[in-house]
Symmetry: C2
Subunit: 410 residues, 2 copies
Amino acid sequence: MALFVQKYGGTSVGSAERIKNVARRVAKYYAAGHELIVVVSAMSGETNRLIALAKEIQANPDPRELDVMVSTGEQVTIALLAMALKEINIKAKSYTGSQVRILTDSAHTKARILKIDEERIRADLKAGNVVVVAGFQGIDEANNITTLGRGGSDTTGVALAAALKADECQIYTDVDGIYTTDPRIVPEARRLKTITFEEMLEMASLGSKVLQIRSVEFAGKYKVKLRVLSSFEEEGEGTLITFEEDKNNMEQAVISGIAFNRDEAKITILGVPDHPGIAYQILGPVADANIDVDMIIQNVGHDGTTDFSFTVNRGEFANTMNILKNKILPHIGARDIIGGDKIAKVSVVGVGMRSHAGIASKMFRVLAEEGINIQMITTSEIKISVVVDEKYMELAVRVLHKAFDLDQEL
Amino acid sequence: MALFVQKYGGTSVGSAERIKNVARRVAKYYAAGHELIVVVSAMSGETNRLIALAKEIQANPDPRELDVMVSTGEQVTIALLAMALKEINIKAKSYTGSQVRILTDSAHTKARILKIDEERIRADLKAGNVVVVAGFQGIDEANNITTLGRGGSDTTGVALAAALKADECQIYTDVDGIYTTDPRIVPEARRLKTITFEEMLEMASLGSKVLQIRSVEFAGKYKVKLRVLSSFEEEGEGTLITFEEDKNNMEQAVISGIAFNRDEAKITILGVPDHPGIAYQILGPVADANIDVDMIIQNVGHDGTTDFSFTVNRGEFANTMNILKNKILPHIGARDIIGGDKIAKVSVVGVGMRSHAGIASKMFRVLAEEGINIQMITTSEIKISVVVDEKYMELAVRVLHKAFDLDQEL
């Protein structure tokens, strides 16, 4: 007998029929004697419907009130799934984030989980209940409803798995695992049987939208076994996310996948005085506005100045430019600020690249051969990312996928 | 400076535009220096949409889970109204029933309020906030979400007014007050400037759907000044619900209104052994099933048996018949059970009838003159109700309205 946390996304619970399917799948595990905590998202489309409604009232909806509103999406789904389970004679009980209680900080619309009370869930499991929990939401110290931000249901699943020491956290989604890249762009893309946490982290943050990055960090930190599975297929083992030590024994690929992201915008501040503290002066106000920064690039300066570049989510581009122009530029004596949102980021990811020289040069050569100009480069231990003109994104992904033999079964 | 509780129903908050209108009305009171607690229902149609969704999963949705689901309706509205207020620069804060906390018993879908924590609301009011509260919902001791049943938002409003000792509880609705009867049936129907609590109670329970009966009981018990107003008209004083002593000085009508209800069904148990405890034996199991009984009639028996009749909500007719046939009939030795749901109840209501003889005979004469057969009769201090064939309902209401001069201004 094992304890599983299963998480079903919006598409998997997108209609009454699909919710009944989820109930049947849960019932199979239940019949096999397992304990089950099921985390669900809002029905697909619901969150967007609610946000659109809020925007009819306020162009920039108040974050506290937006959380009150948007959190109703999952609240509807937990009730429906609990009903569907009861309908097939399985004891079930639904919990909102507040009822669990999933304590978060007070950063509305992007809160972080601080603590989960597990006693009540444990008692319900012991009493033979399937426990159905609303993903994506929590409550702060002052009892205000919070949400974890888009994709936060994965984080809820992993956090519950960690708090209750579950044997596995299964993320059911509309794909049957993690692929070497998006099969819509490269039809030869292959499902990976395993992927390391580190690779997954790089893949997720770079735009492979299967799992939310924070949930992967969480899983890594608390050593939660995480598996991505299809909610539409009866069989299939999906992709298991492993620690690196396991991985090295199983697959020896240098590169595991090609990730990409067209949701970013780049900003460059030209002629920044090159003295200590300048990076903080620039990014401090951006961070204070809760804008996430992805790539950050600063090259060596000359003539006492340097150019400072970074990328943000495309939706935050205008906002970030405003902050920079009004709050930062006047104080730091930089020459100018330029930016653009017609960019895409393409990355090669793989733990194997640590021990293999020449990945970067191969990547740059392959892109050059296709006439694709590289606008920015960053590297980490296990990935190399480049920013290119948005229009070359698909081409770049395809040629890199082929160049690194990702279409070949090992 | 006064403290007002204002309650807006589903129609009043049925769209973004209407919610903005509510915000503007609240703003007027706020600008005049008043403190405001605003209770809102779900947007019109939303509760039915949610119930229909639940029924796609379970024909008889689990009550605990149904409450989890249905309570999201008001949760969306409180957020939208708080946003609309902030948009016009009024400090506002939304509360779900759980956040307030409105403690109820555990009777899901028809819970009763036990206690309201008012400290947090009071602090928010003191800090200059308009406090927006979700109607219709609460939470039980074990932190399960409960709902008060249809129309429960009125009860929430009155309960908050009582707990916070508000100066007036204003119920905004789609009518501009309480009428002598439904103007759709009798165009000459007149708005009452005042009505007593007792009359209102009889009117509400008999089908004048302006106010939910429990809210009127509550208001009477805690001496909350209750006013019904239109949310669509800028001016208008609506109808004030008063205690009888006030009323006698203001309006001297014998009859205040004609109420009616076609949502009932009648059930008669024939040949019931006429001995003590029989009424309890019949109605005990019905009450245990949480079925509300309205009229109860038992006439003197003969040959040691009697006939026992009562009415229930039409939606509970089949259920009640089942209970009677399976649980009751076998034990009490009655002859048979008959029933019908093609009935309507028509009532004349007025505190004045206490001191005026002849109201009943006049009512029966007027109906007889139209050839309307009376199937059942019950009376109370301030009302006389008859059950007639459903098809005569409108006719009965019209002739009674005229016979008691309700179309005449006093």
